[in-house]
């Protein structure tokens, strides 16, 4: 038997059970299906969208849809308010990797492809700027709140420490009674930061057999700097708790991972590149969709191999 633990990424999500079903279906309904349930593989999900949003996304089909539909369900995020100079520098630096445009310029840049000669990854993404700005705001908020363990809650709830709470959920999931081996962690987007952080830096976390990251922002220097001292470029591979492979799939036009999508050079093991980076090409303008990655034949081949199926 085997088990897969999924970790979702930025933006609002449908309820955990629905999201897990959507992801499993994306694997099962593909041309080379990988129906985990039929194959006796159990699954679980580290769910944390409820920490950021008042209520879950109503329409599970938005998970498969465009960035616009996804963001309609997510609403807008307010830019994180830095508590000190370090946080301000972090937000500014990550933001600069995403786009060279100011907030005002992004708001003014109504037409897709209006780049003003800018150099960030968002300039390459063929989406309207008002969508890109909302994606950026959500991404900056989520990554900031996690890495700086900000106290936060949606309206009407008691704030919690975001990193501590999500770490506990991850640890509970990978140590759960339903987990069997081989045990593979599949994480997407901001979920890859969570998975890496826990597997590299949280002592209570159980060992797993493999890690797959999709659409990961772990290539950003600013994020790596926040994973010190456990992370180093020469020895960043989380061998402490990952027994076998780490496979990373990316799309160069995915705005979240596009700035530095390959990870083998940044997460080495004894200064040797061991992460297997696999470029893929998702369809449509919104390349960051988790289900688009899950439908990639390369993803299913990777997971099938890791599960020994």
């Amino acid at each position: 038997m085997a088990h897969v633990t999924f970790v979702h990424g930025i933006a609002n999500k449908p309820p955990a059970e629905d999201l897990l079903r959507v992801w499993r279906r994306a694997l099962a309904d593909a041309a080379e299906p990988l129906p985990l349930g039929d194959l006796g593989v159990t699954t679980s999900l580290v769910y944390w969208a409820d920490l950021m949003y008042e209520k879950p996304q109503d329409d599970a089909s938005a998970e498969e849809a465009t960035g616009e539909a996804l963001l309609d369900a997510s609403g807008s995020a307010e830019q994180p308010q830095p508590a000190n100079a370090e946080e301000a520098a972090f937000i500014a630096a990550v933001r600069a990797k995403l786009t060279a445009l100011s907030a005002a310029q992004m708001t003014a840049a109504e037409l897709p492809g209006t780049t003003s000669g800018a150099q960030g990854t968002f300039e390459r993404v063929p989406l309207p700027w008002f969508i890109k700005k909302r994606i950026m705001d959500i991404f900056l908020r989520d990554v900031h709140h996690y890495l700086f363990d900000t106290e936060f809650a949606p309206p009407g709830r008691t704030p919690v420490h975001i990193q501590q709470t999500i770490r506990q959920r991850f640890v509970d999931a990978v140590c759960g009674q339903s987990v069997s081996r081989p045990h593979i962690v599949v994480s997407h987007s901001m979920g890859t930061v969570i998975a890496y952080d826990c597997l590299k830096r949280v002592a209570a976390c159980a060992n797993v057999d493999g890690l797959i990251t999709i659409g990961s922002p772990l290539g950003l220097d600013e994020i790596q700097d926040k994973l010190h001292p456990e992370w180093t470029r020469a020895n960043g591979f989380p061998r402490e708790r990952v027994a076998a492979d780490w496979i990373n799939l990316y799309d160069r036009l995915d705005p979240v991972c596009g700035f530095d999508p390959a990870l083998a050079n940044d997460y080495r093991e004894r200064d040797t590149g061991v992460v297997k980076d696999i470029p893929v090409e998702n369809d449509g303008a919104w390349r960051h969709s988790a289900t688009k990655y899950l439908r990639q034949p390369a993803f299913r081949r990777s997971l099938r191999g890791m599960l020994g199926l």
Binding site: A30, P33, G37, G40, V41, S61
Partner: protein
């Protein structure tokens, strides 16, 4: 626990409460439960709870209407008519339940008409006329509020002549269709129910606007949680009344909708054996595939075609020159640990065929095997039983046929049982309710199994599998498939609407079907 299982428990509790010392305490909850049972298609229980509510509050018009609906769904159309006519007679015409009761009367009469062997008899024609009247009254009184009456009226008026009856000459099908479409489009988006799109599609069909029909159904299938019941009802209308399969485009549409339906929880598809081969040959155009099933339609459709292909390997076990006594299916001998490995054998239940002919089974010389979908004209005698296991162990019997089966593929066997607790579904392919001429594909919830990692087999070496009891009982010896790959996981051997002891040390009984994991049969055979 699934919603279906939870509702069954609630219904049992409600019936006990309503029969107790303080029945009024639970009556409000019971009233709501009647509708929930209808939505989950548990009509037997629905009628039981509605009957219990009626005994306490016979004036509850809504409950009486639902009772009538339950009776129709249980095949008791004339009893439903008595209930609904009495209800209509005591309601004021402006009572909201009046129109609903009238529409259900239309349904009951329509059912009588379509069930008639000869639709030209006086009785059948009278039922047709009564159905028209029952739908017409509320529709003409308030077309915008009674679109479902309108769309049923449309179906009868547009198709009556094909069934040998003449609709009233003052009714024009196109005009009815336009009125229904206008009425539907006027409904605020937030007020639209799960019936909205199927009703609109049928009205568009009445206008002959196929592009609109496909576009509407695409919207329905693409919804976050499309419901199986409205889609199944609409498909029945499309095939039985509109006969859309006459044209290639209509046949393609039906095939695609069957594929979509079978992907939904609770999906049931019944295909006439004579139509199975034809259903395999239907080839929707690539444009139609995407127009109805969306971006990933090709995969969904290929999955459904695979299911149809698997049905070709399912056989009827018949008493020689007699009727069907059970089901079996073709497998490779090697998959059951028998030699020669590539020989094709038929697996069925011991209680269907066994050496001694122990009742209710027959001995091998008394039976013949017919692959009714693939080769209905050929019956195979049984040469010998290669291996069998008693009903209280594996309840299995492996038959070697007297002549070699050609051009029918053996069914693939799953190596593993599906994971539990993940909304896992299984499909039982068999003969619904013992009817000879139809194959039923039933989507069933996997309830429990005794396989790894957490199972505790009660019979040493034998792993049993439990799945939700379908509306109609499956047949002994049917294959039970996993939900995506169409690989056989189990040999179906018994079922019950109640009284099945739970597995793995669970206490009490529940409604479940039981099969034996095929891998455990192969392993047990080695012992």
């Amino acid at each position: 626990m699934s919603l279906t299982s939870e509702l069954r428990l609630q219904a049992t509790a409600a019936l006990q409460s309503l029969a107790g010392a303080n029945p009024l305490e639970g009556i409000e909850q019971a009233r709501q439960l009647v509708e929930q049972l209808r939505d989950s298609r548990q009509y037997d229980l629905m009628s039981s709870v509605a009957e219990a509510v009626s005994r306490i509050d016979p004036r509850d018009a809504r409950n009486r209407k639902l009772y009538g609906q339950a009776l129709i769904e249980c095949g008791k159309a004339t009893a439903a008519i008595d209930v609904l006519e009495a209800l209509s007679a005591r309601l004021a015409p402006d009572d909201p339940e009046f129109g609903e009761a009238s529409g259900l009367l239309g349904r009951a009469y329509k059912q009588i008409f379509f069930d008639a062997g000869d639709r030209t008899t006086v009785g059948a024609r009278d039922a047709f006329a009564q159905a028209i009247n029952a739908y017409r009254r509320p529709f003409e009184a308030n077309p915008a509020a009674n679109t479902w009456h309108g769309v049923n009226l449309l179906a009868l008026v547009a198709n009556g002549r094909r069934f040998g009856v003449v609709p009233p000459t003052d009714l024009d099908a196109k005009q009815i269709a336009r009125t229904v479409v206008a009425g539907l489009e006027a409904i605020e988006p937030r007020q639209r129910t799960s019936w909205y799109l199927p009703t609109l599609a049928e009205a568009q069909l009445g206008l002959g606007d196929w592009d609109a029909v496909e576009s509407t159904l695409r919207q329905y299938v693409a919804q976050a949680e499309p419901k199986a019941f409205p889609l199944a009802s609409m498909l029945r209308q499309f095939t039985q009344i509109w006969d859309v399969e006459r044209t290639p485009r209509g046949a393609g549409l039906v095939s695609l909708l069957n594929a979509a339906l079978m992907k939904l929880p609770g999906g049931v598809c019944e295909i006439q054996i004579s139509d199975l081969q034809r259903a395999q040959d239907v080839q929707p155009t690539p444009g139609q595939l995407e127009a109805v099933l969306g971006q990933h339609g090709a995969q969904t459709y290929q999955w459904w075609k695979t299911g149809l292909t698997r049905a070709m390997s399912v056989a009827s076990i018949r008493q020689r020159l007699g009727s069907r006594i059970g089901t079996g299916f073709l497998v490779r001998a090697g998959d059951l640990g028998l030699a020669p490995a590539d020989q094709l054998v038929v697996l069925t239940n011991h209680h269907v065929v066994n050496d001694k002919g122990e009742s209710p089974g027959l001995s091998p010389d008394q039976v013949e095997v017919v692959f009714e979908a693939a080769d209905p004209g050929t019956s195979y005698a049984v040469e010998k039983i290669l291996w069998c296991s008693e009903p209280d162990v594996c309840d299995a019997c492996v038959l070697r046929l007297a002549t070699t089966v050609r051009d029918i593929a053996p069914l693939p066997i799953a190596r593993r049982l599906p994971a539990l607790g993940e909304g896992a579904q299984v499909y039982v392919v068999g003969y619904p309710g013992g009817r000879d001429l139809a194959f039923s594909f039933q989507d069933n919830e996997l309830l429990d199994h005794e396989g790894p990692p957490g199972g505790h087999p009660q019979i040493p070496g034998v792993c049993r599998v439990h799945y939700h009891a379908p509306t109609e009982g499956g047949s002994s010896g049917s294959p039970v498939f996993n939900s995506t790959l169409w690989e056989v996981i189990a040999l179906h051997h018994k079922g019950g609407k109640t009284g099945m002891p739970r597995l793995n040390g669970g206490t009490g009984t529940y409604a479940a079907n039981e099969g034996i994991w095929l891998q455990s049969i192969a392993e047990y055979r080695k012992t």
